[in-house]
Amino acid sequence: MAALTVKNLTREFPSGGGVRGVSLEVGAGEFLVLLGPSGCGKTTLLRLIAGLDDPDAGTIEFAPRSGFATANSRGRIAMVFQNLALYPHLSAFENIAFPLRLKKLAPAEIDRRVRETAARAGLSAGLERRPAELSGGERQRVALARALVREPEIILMDEALASLDARRRSALRLELKNLQRTTRRTFIYVTHDQVEALALADRVAVMHEGRIEQIGSPEEIFNHPETEFVAGFVGEPAMNFFDAQAAVDRGGLAIAGAWIPAVVPAGAPEAVRAGIRPTDFSLEPAPGAASIELKINSVEFSGASFIVRGSLVHSGRDQHSGARSICALVAHRVEPGETHRFYFDPAKPHLFDPESGRRID
């Protein structure tokens, strides 16, 4: 059942940004992540859903429920802002209690619910302190508890973990995911961090220039990107792209004079954009593997693997391949200046239409 249905939503700003004709369905209890670069409209979409801004066109509908008018969605939605927006003059306790005090609940009931929710958000001590006296992580938890305490159906989060350092961010990310599972609330989470998006989401909606480029499970987004933008935005290090000539009959791609065997779908145009992820390369030959030869320019050790950048070595006279530097993740160290052969599964390259940016299957 859909908790929220967005239809053809448009909101544009004179200064740019905004959303253009976005349609979206969010299931009840789903963790949806809106992912995109800054200015892609993800925050605008979130603010429209929250009712903090009005759309130029389009509708937002909440699942019908007795006792609530569809027009008044405030009670069903809570939001955690990027800057957290805690009330600076109130203690952590009073910050969390604020929505309950507005509902004029009995003091004992407020006390019980605040302490319960604070504990659930991982806050046990320090409830009497003000936001300025709390650490970044504690402030984060207060904001989360304030959103949870009135038991909304949908919780909106705008880059909510962005202010934390990497270690605390990944810890809180896990807690957040658990919290969503145990509370069975619908979460809509905005981020520009694709690692965060893939880790948290049931479904990811990748946004670009005010539109949703693709919406799907993290695996779909990563393994089957529908557009060149999605392919390039998701994945770290980013996918390598080439301008290539596709030859369906010979089963391969010509990249700047070099011939690379690859699975080319029937009906592909002659000129394509080919993309291959750095993680798809290997130094070990495998049966049936295609390969390219790279002259290594730089090597970085990343702990689990080596990030190698190199340029294509090929017999052709044309040195211009569209990809100046190709990135590959390999298991053992190679040295700059050396030339190595990198193997990959010929089914791995993703092909995109250079005109529309759409995937070719």
Binding site: L52, F81, F98
Partner: protein, 280 residues
């Protein structure tokens, strides 16, 4: 030492000396009259008008203060000045807060607000004094013993001061904090009262004090509107024109007491607020 560094050092020294000289002048301009005032208040009138002038008091006396307190009108004037000041400053701060809040959030309000406030500030007050007096007389608020008419005028004069003092403080409240409160279920009025006002409370205190001093010190309208039911500044004026320089000086010293109390009590806070336009 590099020649360049020495050069800039010398120039810096020159500026510092000029600055010190200007600062000294400003301090002298403020302190010397205050000193003379205090001396006049504490010495017999003979000494005030002695020639050649006497710079150090010879004969200290509290007679001038005693004389001021014997004036029947004084009690009424103090009560009236306090009531006009407190009521006008409180209402101006309240209205200024609403205006500043609107100006901090809506660009239309900001444009209209700044234009209007600067307009009011640039307008010569004497230009509105006569029509204001006529209008107040028409509704029976001219020279009343509670000085309600003067309170209204002082409030109107003080609103720009209050709004401009409070504007920066309201602008510094993140919009998301208000939005969060709205999403938590608070009405716009509720957000203003329970979120905005407590956050800007320091600036509210500053605005109130500035407005109070503005009214406490205001002479023109007070002279015109309260011909018989006087406030302190006109009372002081009549003392002086009737030649009672000693008691007038004593009264003037007494009038600085509220300002001194405020400066001593809120010194650092107020100084910051006066410089920054009340942002904290």
């Amino acid at each position: 030492m590099k020649p360049g560094a020495r050069h800039s050092g010398e120039r810096g020294g020159g500026f510092a000396m000029l600055g010190a000289a200007l600062g000294g002048f400003v301090i002298a301009a403020a302190v010397i009259p205050l000193y003379l005032l205090a001396k006049q208040a504490l010495t017999p009138e003979l000494e005030t008008f002695a020639w050649p002038p006497v710079w150090l008091p010879r004969d200290i006396t509290l007679r001038n203060f005693a004389q001021v307190f014997m004036v029947r009108e004084l009690r009424g004037a103090i009560v009236r000045s306090l009531s006009v000041g407190v009521i006008s400053a409180a209402s101006a701060t309240a209205m200024g807060a609403m205006l500043a809040s609107a100006m901090a959030r809506a660009s239309a309000a900001r444009r209209v607000g700044f234009a209007t406030l600067s307009g009011v500030r640039l307008l010569p007050m004497i230009a509105v004094a006569i029509p204001a007096a006529v209008m107040l007389a028409a509704i029976g608020l001219y020279d009343t013993s509670d000085a309600l008419g003067l309170t209204i005028i002082h409030c109107a004069i003080a609103i720009p001061t209050a709004a401009l003092t409070l504007y920066a403080a309201f602008a510094a409240v993140p919009a998301e904090v208000e939005e969060a409160a709205w999403l938590d279920g608070a009405s716009a009025l509720r957000v203003f009262l329970t979120i905005d006002l407590p956050i800007v409370r320091g600036a509210l205190a500053t605005a109130f004090i500035l407005c109070f001093i503005l009214s406490w010190d205001e002479f023109g309208f007070a002279l015109l509107l309260q011909q018989t039911n006087r406030t302190l500044p006109p009372l002081l004026y009549y003392y002086t024109v009737f030649g009672n320089v000693g008691p007038a000086s004593a009264l003037a010293i007494l009038m600085t007491v509220p300002a001194l109390c405020v400066v001593i009590a809120l010194g650092p806070t107020l100084r910051g607020a006066l410089i920054s336009g009340g942002s904290r």
